[in-house]
């Protein structure tokens, strides 16, 4: 009974540390017949999750004739980069630049404002700061849509409508609560002895913030940078509502406009989608663990 169970455990629920090879010897025949079923759920979701990405890729390297013949499964026999060249010759460089400017500005502001705020929230216990933290947490429940119409009116009245400036402050505001939450949870774990010893050395709180909290919170800051960076990079609603001219378009909004512009040129459209996604794909290849950690940092302990 126990032996057959221990064999179950190995494809069980997340607790298997044993090497697959060690189990292979005795029950090779049983494992191989069961092997397929072991992989089956994994393969099914693999197909569902991966196929659309694969589809985008093979269509983007198909020439327009090959695509219209309806080949959706295998890579084209004569792949072409002409679709990419066509997209690059358009304005996509400008849209990239706009997205980069907005993303860097938002992430920079969020980190510079959220880190000192989180430090104060952890270290200070007065009524003002305590209630302030609750006020920030309330922000997690405010949908962007609740504020988008007034923000639009505000941006028009200060003359920022249809500029890149309009896109920055609202996004800083809306990603602030989660950023502060992530940082507070992390800074709380810095041992008090470290602060005490710095105070004994005569350090002021700004020095403590820069020399102690900043370096020690690096993993949390990385999480905030990645999370807010992805949100801002992919944001569609703010550019849709707050901009209209071509020269201030960011990538997601530009992609949506391509849809009409490219018409039935699906390979061209898919090439544009792929190009716009390349920074995220590169980030995933380089720093997958940090990226995935950053995405869930505010939601799991």
């Amino acid at each position: 009974m126990i032996t057959s169970d221990s064999q179950y455990v190995r494809y069980g629920y997340g607790l298997d540390n044993t090497n697959d090879r060690s189990v292979m010897n005795a029950k090779t025949i049983r494992s191989s017949s069961k092997g397929f079923f072991r992989f089956l759920p994994g393969i099914l979701w693999f197909l569902v999750a991966f196929y659309p990405v694969y589809y985008m890729f093979i269509v983007s390297i198909s020439d327009k004739q090959n695509f219209s013949s309806g080949n959706f499964w295998l890579p084209p026999t004569n792949p072409t980069l002409s679709n990419f060249l066509q997209v690059i010759q358009g304005n996509i460089g400008l849209y990239f630049l706009n997205s980069i400017i907005v993303t860097i500005a938002c992430v920079f502001l969020i980190v510079c404002l959220a880190l000192p705020a989180a430090f104060a929230i952890v270290k200070i216990n007065n009524i003002f700061v305590k209630n302030l933290f609750k006020l920030f947490l309330f922000g997690l429940a405010i949908p962007v849509q609740a504020a988008i119409i007034p923000i639009y009116v505000m941006m028009i009245s200060v003359g920022a409508y249809d500029t890149l400036y309009a896109l920055i402050p609202p996004q800083v505001a809306f990603w602030m609560p989660l950023s502060i939450l992530i940082l507070v949870n992390f800074i709380r774990d810095i041992p008090n002895e470290l602060y005490d010893s710095m105070v004994l050395d005569g350090a002021g709180h700004f020095r403590i913030l820069v020399k102690l909290v900043l370096p020690l919170s690096k993993p949390a800051i990385v999480a905030v940078v990645l999370y807010t960076g992805i949100q801002v990079w992919n944001n569609f609603l703010f550019p849709l509502v707050l901009t209209q001219s071509k020269d201030v378009r960011t990538l997601p909004f530009a992609l949506q406009k391509f849809q009409g512009q490219y018409g039935i040129d699906i390979p061209g459209l898919m090439a544009a989608v792929l190009l716009a996604s390349i920074p995220m794909i590169l980030l995933y290849i380089i720093a997958r663990r940090q990226l995935l950690g950053g995405l869930t940092a505010g939601f799991s302990k």
Binding site: I2, D5, S6, Y8, V9, G12, Y13, D16, D20, F39, G42, W45, Y51, P52, V53, G70, C112, A114, P116, A117, F119, K123, I124, F128, V129, L135, A141, I142, P143, Q145, A146, A147, I148, I149, Y152, V153, P169, A173, F174, M176, N192, Y195, H205, N234, F236, P252, F253, L255, Q256, Q259, L269, M270, V273, S277, M280, I281, L292, T296, F299, S300
Partner: protein, 301 residues
């Protein structure tokens, strides 16, 4: 409170001041607009005219507006359907990729790919996949013959379901991440004890894994429900609310009213209703699940 001793009273107030820049952005661009939306919901305000106070007129109009009522119904439908599809799949797949086997690690690299794409990119890819001559219809005609082609996004009864599936594709990977992290935190000793007692794999899943994932389940459910209430991007890109009003969910109805029909005042009514539903839902879910109480207990230890 040892950490209090290291800071003098005056410097405590200086440190409290570190929260002000973050608070400024948050108050000006998130909290203030939200209250402004409430005020604007009592105004008649069309594109170029100046606003005028009209009391409850917009609100009265809302209760006799079949499109808005339908939008709320559709939003609730998207919420419920999204929860029903995303929760079981994310739970099972999350537990599946929590295993440390090599092949599961390889699978999970592909499982998380949808997280890299903006909602606009996802919408554009799926329009093609679901199109009349696209891959999904190619499979269907392969099985049922050429009469089987379905216009997924052009059929008023099917479009919403197609959208819900695309949203699931976009968000399931995120919830897989949550469940994976949750499963990996379950102490292995629990499983070891159960194995010694001769518990079957299924029984371990039901009696250990599921109860231990309660927190993750609550977090994930709240995010799915509140997230799909404000869901906008994919629907805007894929159907724009159509055909007819069959996918015109509440956030989209609000956008179209305020920005396409230039009814700023009436759009604000819809924005306020959206935020009320959102905040009430968050509070209700948190209270029902006893989440806040448990969290504060955890903090107290």
């Amino acid at each position: 409170m040892p950490e209090q001793n290291v800071l003098s009273k005056s410097s405590r107030w200086t440190v409290s001041g570190l929260t002000l820049p973050a608070l400024g952005f948050y108050a000006l661009f998130a909290l203030f607009p939200m209250f402004l939306a409430v005020a604007m919901s009592f105004m008649a305000w069309h594109a170029l005219s100046s606003p005028s106070w009209i009391g409850l007129q917009n609100w009265k109009h809302f209760f006799s507006d079949p499109i808005a009522i339908n939008a709320i119904y559709l939003s609730l439908k998207v919420m419920v359907l999204s929860w029903l599809i995303q929760t079981p799949l994310s739970l099972l797949l999350g537990v599946y990729v929590a295993g440390y086997q090599k092949y599961r690690a390889v699978f999970s690299v592909f499982y998380f790919l949808p997280l890299l794409f903006s909602a606009v990119a996802i919408g554009l890819i799926w329009i093609q996949i679901l199109s009349i001559s696209g891959p999904v219809n190619t499979i269907i005609t392969g099985i049922f013959g050429s009469d089987g082609r379905i216009s997924w996004l052009g059929d008023p009864t099917l479009a919403l379901y197609a959208i819900v599936i695309v949203i699931a594709w976009q968000f399931i990977p995120f919830h897989i991440l949550l469940y994976q992290a949750g499963t990996r935190q379950i102490p292995t000793s629990l499983y070891e004890a159960a194995t010694l007692d001769g518990a079957s794999n299924f029984r371990k899943f039901v009696h250990i894994t599921l109860p231990q994932l309660k927190h993750t389940f609550i977090t994930s459910s709240i995010l799915i429900l509140t997230g799909s209430l404000v869901y906008f991007d994919v629907i805007y890109v894929m159907t724009g609310g159509g055909p007819g009003i069959s996918t015109r969910i509440l956030p989209l109805d609000m956008y179209l009213r305020a920005f396409k029909m230039a009814q700023i005042g009436y759009g604000s009514v819809l924005a306020v209703i959206l935020s009320i539903i959102g905040v009430v839902l968050s509070v209700l879910l948190l209270t029902l699940s006893g989440f806040t109480r448990m969290q504060s207990q955890a903090e107290g230890t």
